[in-house]
């Protein structure tokens, strides 16, 4: 399949301008445009025909895949994407965009914080999960662990996953977090099916060279204990969620604009001065 780059970039521009402003407070650091395109292409191939559960998606990769696939710009497409995010602005932006472009049958976002047990509706329901969590530079991946475990809880026995985590030769912590991540995945029966190192860059003003990898993982098994066992995060886990001494304190980020339907509070208008000659 040949790729129409101009059409892809037009489509991605629409997705990018729809993303709410990132909050560094929560390590919301957005992926840059070229890497979003490559990532969307990767996901469309691996997750073709799958129902996919996104655990957090500030980058809007789920929407990018949906929109590019709807425009027949990608080689494959997930059958359905569910985005769970604790930021209501992200949830509203996904749902509003999908409604505007007639893509609501393919993607839906709901409010959810990984500190809570995974709602029963999502338990072992999807064929694949995707997460680009806060990377856990200072806690050896405690936040990464929480996001991945929710993703694993959300998929069936025979499942795929994609984890996007820090990966840079100059940063030892990224490799330590990768080891911790692979241990979690191995324990849950997943193997690494593909690894794309140093694959993405971010809008990170104090470190624009920092890169992340895409880790595609796969579990091929027929059996899985289906009894519901999802539990809220422990107090200890929440206390060091974003790093040592950096607790998770926020349940939800609320959207006072209701997905852009209400006026933004970010700007004020000043009246044009008039003179007697006007």
């Amino acid at each position: 399949m040949s790729v129409d780059f101009r059409a892809c970039l037009y489509a991605l521009s629409d997705v990018i301008i729809n993303r709410p402003k990132p909050l560094r407070h929560f390590d919301q650091i957005y992926m840059k445009l070229p890497d979003m395109l490559l990532q969307a292409e990767l996901i469309s191939r691996w997750f073709d025909g799958k129902s996919v559960l996104f655990i957090g998606d500030g980058d809007a990769i789920g929407l990018a895949v949906t929109h590019l696939a709807a425009l027949e710009l990608l080689p494959g497409r997930p059958q359905h994407i569910t985005v769970l995010d604790f930021d209501e602005r992200v949830v509203n932006s996904v749902n509003r965009f999908a409604e505007d472009y007639g893509e609501s049958d393919w993607i839906r976002a709901s409010l959810y914080n990984v500190a809570d047990a995974l709602p029963k509706d999502f338990w072992h329901a999807a064929n694949a999960f995707y997460t680009n969590p806060p990377w856990g530079a200072s806690n050896n991946g405690s936040s990464v662990k929480a996001f991945i475990e929710r993703g694993i809880e959300g998929v069936q026995a025979d499942a795929l996953g994609c984890i996007v985590i820090g990966d840079h030769p100059s940063y030892q912590w990224t490799h330590e977090v990768q080891v911790a991540t692979q241990n979690i995945l191995l324990e849950a029966g997943f193997r690494v099916a593909e690894m794309l190192p140093e694959f993405h860059r971010y809008h990170l003003d104090d470190d624009p060279e920092l890169t992340s990898c895409s880790l595609i993982v796969q579990r091929q098994t027929d059996t899985l204990d289906d009894s519901y066992t999802s539990r809220p995060l422990s107090a200890e886990h929440k206390a060091n969620f974003y790093g040592s001494n950096s607790p998770l304190l926020v349940q939800y980020v609320r959207d006072p604009t209701n997905g852009g339907k209400l006026a933004s509070r970010d700007v004020t208008l000043e009246r044009l001065e008039t003179t007697n000659n006007d």
Binding site: H25, A137, Q172, L204, D205, D206, Y242
Partner: protein
């Protein structure tokens, strides 16, 4: 000359929002006399109050009994909007009015400081690295290139070798210091 702490916050300082460095210092000292603390405004992505400064400061408090801000006076041309902040928050959830007597302008974040004191210190950047956040472990001389003018720094376990004649290029001259006090750093609006 004071010793280099194991962990500290480094910041370039200078003229800001149309005020000279000397005037800012005078105003901040007056604020400290009146309120017993000072808000030191800043912006940008580095040293986010909640995700970086607060956890870094808590760890420093545990390990070395406190956390120091070290300031390198530079000829700054920063001239942002001078709208003063009205409220601050240490968690982004609860917001309270800026204490009477404190003025902080043109900033989204502020360090909460004790008295600002003159203090001479030579910082060899090749012996330091970033101590928290996504850039953890990054060499300070690389991190502080370009637009980044502040950082939560630690002494590096792997100092970089520098030719004797080149060392002076990597030394930052600290002229002032201040202890951070709880809650260490806040958001402003």
């Amino acid at each position: 000359m004071i010793d280099i702490p194991e962990r500290f916050i480094f910041m370039k300082v200078g003229n800001h929002a149309g005020e000279s460095w000397e005037d800012i210092l005078k105003r901040k000292r007056k604020e400290f006399e009146e309120t017993g603390m000072t808000f030191w405004g800043y912006g940008g992505g580095a040293c986010h109050p909640i995700s970086q400064v607060q956890p870094f400061a808590r760890l420093s408090l545990k390990e070395q009994g406190g956390i120091l801000l070290v300031m390198e006076p530079v000829d700054s041309r920063a001239d942002p909007d001078i709208v003063p902040a009205r409220e601050y928050s240490s968690d982004g959830i609860e917001w309270v009015p800026i204490p009477k007597g404190i003025t902080v302008t043109g900033s989204r974040h502020a360090l909460v400081l004790d008295e600002i004191k003159p203090g001479s210190l030579d910082l060899p950047l090749n012996e330091l690295e970033v101590g928290i956040g996504p850039s953890t472990g990054k060499a300070a001389e690389t991190y502080l290139k370009g637009r980044t003018d502040k950082g939560c720094l630690v002494k590096s376990s792997k100092p970089r070798k520098v030719e004797e004649g080149e060392k002076y290029k990597l030394v930052r001259k600290v002229g002032f210091t201040a202890e951070l006090r709880d809650p260490f750093a806040v958001l402003l609006r």
